[in-house]
Symmetry: C2
Subunit: 476 residues, 2 copies
């Protein structure tokens, strides 16, 4: 049969089309019938499962447990916290009919769960001995988005949302920062994605929060992506939902809350940060398949090579290593190379008649394209080591890219030019006014991504007023 090799758009030529091509060709996701809904296909979901497992272990190691709260929230709940309802109302999907019954009160399909969770916490919290509450939930949420893109912005999203309650403002602040650190570490150690961390400007805060902290990653096209957020909610929700506790002095007071979330958006970040003209490039710790054996044969060597490939697979089978063998007989090795590159498999193991003679294989790295021969007997040692090298190299490359694309600017002209021509993160003092923030947004499409934890004083290049460091970028 004729081999049809579909061509992948070049990342450098059209990053938006390249992104959608990768998702289709690597079978990560597919479009659903309702606007902005998607199926996450098995290969995409396997990446998400690995992210979930890794983060879940980190949440448990920091003392959190999982629970599950209802998808359905009465309209009146959403309205209790004034800023919250204003922030979310325009995006809510409403259930108004069930079976043959017209509902008296419309029900929101959860856009986020602060309000419904507060309703339970009010019942569960009575004394300081009930605190802290450290609960996370893995679930879906729905927001009616106008413009959608698989993984990055979708009507329904899979995510986790942590919701904690503390006796003091200090503890809540610590928790919000601790979880920001968990996300940052996950991104660096597991996803090989370096992120900047800091606080959002007031206008970019979560609706109802006292402070929003964020992890911002830089995509390959120079645009920023908000990769996870952690909110210090102060007493805003406790007051709105009347959550109180008896403190050690027998006084009834409001507790302090946090919430923090991470979603399938991270799969989008993975594609955009690491992908290249050949497709996806997966860090070994998240790759569903870490290495694929491709047998290379012509004519009568076929039987022997396939047999040897099977043997090699069973030699390498171990709980710590995810290896598969592509024993399909329909396609050529070249077609398979292409296929597994698009899928981002970190290592290809080539095995041909000459390799069998020499009792070796050839290892080909997806991250650099480098080839190295490896003795069969040494492979069980060499392969995990190589995967570690790839993991580290991918983080190093992404870190260099982030550093090269973080630029300090002195004037507004330079700021505009940098954002327009080079994108990336632009660092400049900001005078703290919404006026300046808005002007920059309108004129450059860049927003304040974060205010770093260490900020230097300087002159705001737009207003000329005194300011402190802010990081700007055009964002997804």
């Amino acid at each position: 049969m004729a081999e049809v090799v579909e061509k992948l758009t070049k990342k450098s030529e059209d990053p938006s089309r390249w992104y959608l091509d990768v998702i289709r060709m690597a079978r990560l996701a597919d479009y659903g019938p309702v606007r902005g809904t998607f199926a996450i296909r098995p290969y995409g979901y396997a990446i998400w499962e690995r992210m979930q497992r890794d983060l879940d272990d980190r949440f448990k190691a920091t003392g959190h447990t999982n629970a599950y709260f209802p998808l359905f929230i009465p309209e009146s709940y959403l309205k209790k916290e004034a800023e919250h309802v204003e922030g979310f109302n325009p995006e809510v999907a409403w259930v108004t009919r069930a079976g043959s019954e017209e509902l008296e009160e419309p029900i929101a399909v959860r856009p986020t769960s602060e309000t419904i969770i507060c309703d339970f916490y009010r019942k569960w919290i009575d004394s300081y001995r009930d605190l802290p509450i450290l609960i996370n939930q893995w679930s879906n949420f729905v927001r009616w988005e106008k413009v959608t893109r698989p993984f990055l912005r979708t009507t329904e999203v899979l995510w986790q949302e942590g919701h904690t309650v503390h006796a003091t403002a200090e503890e809540a602040r610590e928790e919000a920062l601790r979880m920001l650190g968990v996300y940052r570490d996950f991104y660096a150690e597991t996803a090989a994605i370096p992120v900047l961390t800091g606080a959002k400007s007031p206008s970019e805060r979560f609706a109802g929060a006292v402070e929003t902290f964020t992890c911002e990653a830089l995509m390959g096209d120079g645009r920023a992506l908000q990769a996870a957020t952690s909110h210090d909610l102060g007493q805003n929700f406790a007051r709105a939902f009347d959550i109180t506790f008896l403190d050690e002095n027998q006084e009834r007071v409001y507790p302090y809350q946090t919430s923090w979330g991470f979603s399938t958006r991270a799969v989008g970040a993975l594609i955009l940060v690491h992908g290249d003209d050949r497709g996806l490039k997966l860090p070994p710790r998240l790759a569903p398949t870490q290495a694929v054996i491709v047998p290379i044969y012509r004519g009568k060597s076929k039987g022997a090579v396939l047999e040897e490939a099977r043997k090699l697979l069973s030699e390498l089978e171990s709980p710590d290593l995810r290896v598969e063998a592509d024993l399909d007989e329909e396609h050529s090795p070249g077609w398979k190379f292409n296929e597994h590159e698009v899928r981002g498999v970190p290592v290809r193991i080539e095995l041909g008649p000459k390799d069998i003679e020499k009792d070796q294989v050839v290892l080909v790295r997806r991250d650099t394209g480098e080839k190295e021969p490896a003795g069969r007997r040494d492979l069980a040692r060499r392969l995990p080591e190589l995967l570690e090298e790839i993991q580290e190299n991918m983080l190093r490359q992404a870190r260099s890219f982030l550093e090269e694309n973080t630029r300090h600017v002195e004037s507004y002209e330079q700021m505009k030019e940098t954002i327009a021509e080079k994108r990336g993160f632009v660092v400049a003092p900001w005078d703290g006014t919404e006026e300046t923030e808005q002007r920059i947004k309108e004129e450059t499409k860049a927003t304040i991504r974060l205010l770093p934890f260490e900020r230097e004083e300087g002159k705001d290049p737009v207003s000329g007023r005194p300011g402190k460091t802010a990081v700007f970028a055009r964002a997804y």
Copy 2:
């Protein structure tokens, strides 16, 4: 402070109230504001997580992968399979408004996913080489129920639903039966719950299925519970959604499908099968805490005993053992015994001053109440062994109960009497007519739970006509 020990209703006196008491006192779930919705609290969710992990491993071992399909299904999709829409329409929650937009077509919040998944499978399947498709999803579904009860019947349910596609009718039938076996094994090996397996009568089939297979468990009050189902969908959905493939003879034909599901209902089954007048009784393989250390002290021994309890905990810490120490100083040992019995912790480890002297502890089994002293040095060996014994004993007990409460009847009088007075499973020949099935249902409230795989011929006690074995029971 005064110790308030809440009293648990006796299971034998009022099983319905007992059930709700256990759920509240063991903190398994709590009521949400929208009718029939519940939060699954951390302790309940930890049980569910263990069920998930165990089943997920079994699904993967039988070649399945996970994926995720949209929550939102257009009304027109639900209508495509005639029986399906008739079965589910009365229970569907409809989104009719999103943001400020009135939707042109109402959107169903998924009541089950056959229809939406078929829409994707139509796109993904082209040739016999694309088959079989073996996909599972972990998700939530919504059905607008009139009468609800935590875990057993709720508006929103957490579950998994497998959806597979096969080239032949035989393969699909094999798959449906394979997954029925997976559920049966999970129930026996992990949940210590024996189930009967067989086919549903036509009137009890899943809407749109050719055949529905079921696992039926017997609750402590003698009522049956449908614990998991597996459906052979034949070509019904493939025809309705126009899923076709090119077979090996280059002909375009319809494939055969299955679907199979298991939900948080299983947590309800766990409570009802194993629970007793003291509360929950968890099989060690599903228990979030397998053993709890309770220090016993009076007056000045306190410091030394608490210190020793901490030491014991660290001695026992291992990835294969889930042990906690109740070091709370507010409550008496008696209060704690009660608390951990209600929570169903399989083993209590008592540690008092005399035990410390003798370098021992006292192990108390939750399943039998038996006590045994165990040397400290031997504990790391003895405890896992004891947990295994408890796991086996719980299955043995549940199996005896099932056997004792499965009764063959000869006459309709005997059938009515048995159902009314003893409940349990009642075995009798059935003539295969809906008329007889309906009459039994109306007059005894019992339904056909299943038709066993091996059926004997005999005389239907109701109609007097020839029939084959069926198993009847009143059910949850």
